[in-house]
Assembly symmetry: C2
Homo-oligomer: 412 residues x 2
């Protein structure tokens, strides 16, 4: 039988009534002839309660015990979902991580999948079970301890199961109805995308579109798992949500798929650095060691053997960056005349696989920003993305202007 | 190293603060040189919450899923307790049922122990761990499903571990400070017993003294596990609580150890039943099949080949009993002229291993009741117990009179 993976996030199983509604959606797919693997999160709020108790009990906790405690929320939801499906006469059972078993590394609270052997669940499907309800976010280590996968772990569990079981699709039920061309709170002409390519979704996710965790999209791309993001609060429909898929499934597309932005950026410039081989390594090595996530880097043209080096990083890492730079200077790693920090910047990016074949996207972008009188501080480009750093006060304006110029309110 | 089992019930781990206090008690025993196996219940209220969710989800639930859901409460407490002990620099880890593994039958929600292999926990003790915190109330079946043990399961888990690991003692921490000669709410002269024999505890438990579940006492008696019942809300002391132990540890004892009572009794009498071989089987067979727990049975002397048959059962089973009797009569299994039901009776019992060597306990008991003008409706006796059925309105008076006549306010 064809197989589907359906994942329900915390808000979709927040209480008994919502678990019942989620079970009805599963029943619809079973009625269509699918075997279904359901991945569940903890009822919303439960994981935070457990995390709070761990913190109260032991501020510097043992991650193995933390995992044993916080994984219990998903186990509860899995059992309840299986019970509800049985109540609807659908043969179903729950699976905790160790029962599958979901084999992971021993990196507690940040474990990675090693293997998901199919035998146990396949046997149950062969016996006539139609649904396997699997507790998300967890696994078991070679030592037989319970592990958890870290943030977004249940999405990742869903994709991993879809890959392991060759699912036709992996439906991620959440509290938003899909992926948008940009944040509708910033631009009221934002439009829900019917489809988006993995690569585009990755850029949008890492740029702050909170719909899917980067890790689950990466995994989906690697194993070519078709992901559908949709709301569990809308009426069921075959066209609901957004399909995240390979490029080959997207016949025609706009040059730009979406406009992403990030508000919490900072720009730092080292003035008059010696322009010599190894200078970039001398500067960015210590920053990486200090845990600063340097994003964009720009080096000015050299003058008299000296240059300016500009980079961006998250706002809340500026103090750490300044400390690392001061220490490196004190050690004599490099020299500079001044360090200028600008805390009031934002990053705006246009993303789209269509850029590869559409020339002039960058020119169009710069022209649109210029027309609004927005000065560009830093530019970086990749094959499917162009990002600019601008004054934060212009961020909303820039997003709206770019959304308009690339015609994102209209389907391709 | 000598080993102790310590079990903390739901009220003793009701919140983070109480878990911390329980951990301190464990630390005291570790400091004395004991390795400790700690058995924990769920934080009080948590199991009821989970049971409620199961009921809302599926009124006729699958017991396997019920067990998977309700067992999660103990897992949370076990992890938190291990974390707290680590915080106090005591090497500890948590164990869920399947990790030990605690092997049980597949009778979900009423599972029985098959085996508790020591290897995994022993290895950790050998590595220097001082405490194994085990989730109570649960186990794992041969099919790899989570099982639970039914009511009082955590007490039973504690005794089973004490037996399997040859513990010096099994301390049951609860919200009462020990076993009393009778309920202090009925008799203000009730006295806490320092020691009580397994057999006495069994009679008191099954008669409604709610301190320990019958099943855990039975298991303790079979494996000669010394049990100490004590309060987690009193200052730690070596003489706290009541030790439940073998007779050989009780040097001298009163003839009577305690007075038990049960309020919710009913007396039923079949008038003028044919006094023929097999009549008792004809009456009590159908009652047993109907699930009626018949307790005391008395048959009057026969007159003209007919007799009266009286029995007692719990109040709330009277309707079921009447229905079973009416059906048996309709089938022609037996005949009688009238069925008289008395719903206002209570059972009062005196219990004590000393009865074996002290003659005249029954006579003393009947005399004391007579002196108070209390009429005895039914009497049954065993080697260490005498029970009478009386009008419920005299129950408190009878308990007080018996407590006095046997001098239970004074130690032996």
């Amino acid at each position: 039988m064809p197989l589907l993976v359906m994942k329900f996030g915390g808000t979709s199983v927040a209480n008994i009534d919502r678990i019942h509604r989620a079970a009805k959606r599963v029943a619809l797919e079973v009625a269509k002839g699918y075997d279904v693997i359901v991945i569940v999160s903890a009822m919303s709020g439960k994981t935070n309660e457990l995390v709070g108790w761990v913190g109260e009990t032991s501020p510097l906790y043992d991650a193995r015990e933390y995992d044993a405690v916080v994984s219990s929320g998903e186990n509860v939801t899995a059992g309840l979902m299986a019970l509800r499906l049985q109540e609807m006469d659908i043969p179903a059972r729950s699976w905790q991580g160790w029962q599958v078993p979901i084999l992971t590394t021993s990196a507690h609270s940040a474990a990675r999948f090693i293997d998901i052997p199919r035998a146990n669940i396949d046997q149950k499907f062969a016996e006539g079970f139609r649904v396997a309800v699997v507790a998300g976010f967890q696994g078991v280590s070679a030592e037989g301890r319970i592990t958890t996968l870290g943030r977004g772990g249940s999405d990742t569990t869903a994709v991993a199961f879809a890959a392991a079981f060759g699912a036709e699709r992996c439906d991620i039920y959440t509290d938003v109805d899909g992926v948008y061309t940009t944040d509708p709170r910033i631009c009221d002409r934002a439009r829900k995308l019917d489809r988006i390519a993995f690569e585009e979704m990755l850029e949008l996710a890492s740029l702050g579109a909170k719909v899917l965790q980067t890790r689950s999209v990466e995994l989906a791309m690697r194993y070519k798992v078709r992901l559908r993001v949709l709301s569990s609060f809308e009426e069921p429909s075959d066209t609901a949500g957004t399909l995240v898929c390979g490029e080959e499934e997207i016949m025609e597309s706009n040059a730009v798929a979406g406009v992403a932005f990030s508000r919490d950026e900072a720009k730092m410039t080292l003035i008059s650095v010696a322009d010599r081989p190894g200078i970039a390594a001398a500067i960015f090595g210590p920053l990486a060691e200090a845990g600063v996530n340097v994003d964009m880097i720009v080096q000015n043209i050299s003058e008299d053997g000296r240059t300016d080096m500009t980079f961006s990083c998250p706002n809340d890492q500026v103090l750490r960056a300044e400390k690392a730079i001061a220490e490196a200077k004190a050690r004599g790693d490099f020299n500079f005349s001044d360090l200028v920090t600008d805390l009031a910047v934002a990053k705006v990016s246009v993303v789209g696989i269509g850029m590869r074949s559409h020339a002039g996207v960058a020119a169009q972008m710069f022209k649109a920003l210029s027309a609004e009188g927005i000065n560009i501080k830093v530019i970086t480009t990749s094959e499917i993305k162009i990002s600019v750093l601008i004054d934060r006060k212009y961020m909303e304006l820039a997003v709206q202007a770019l959304h308009d110029i690339f015609g994102l309110d209209k389907a391709a």
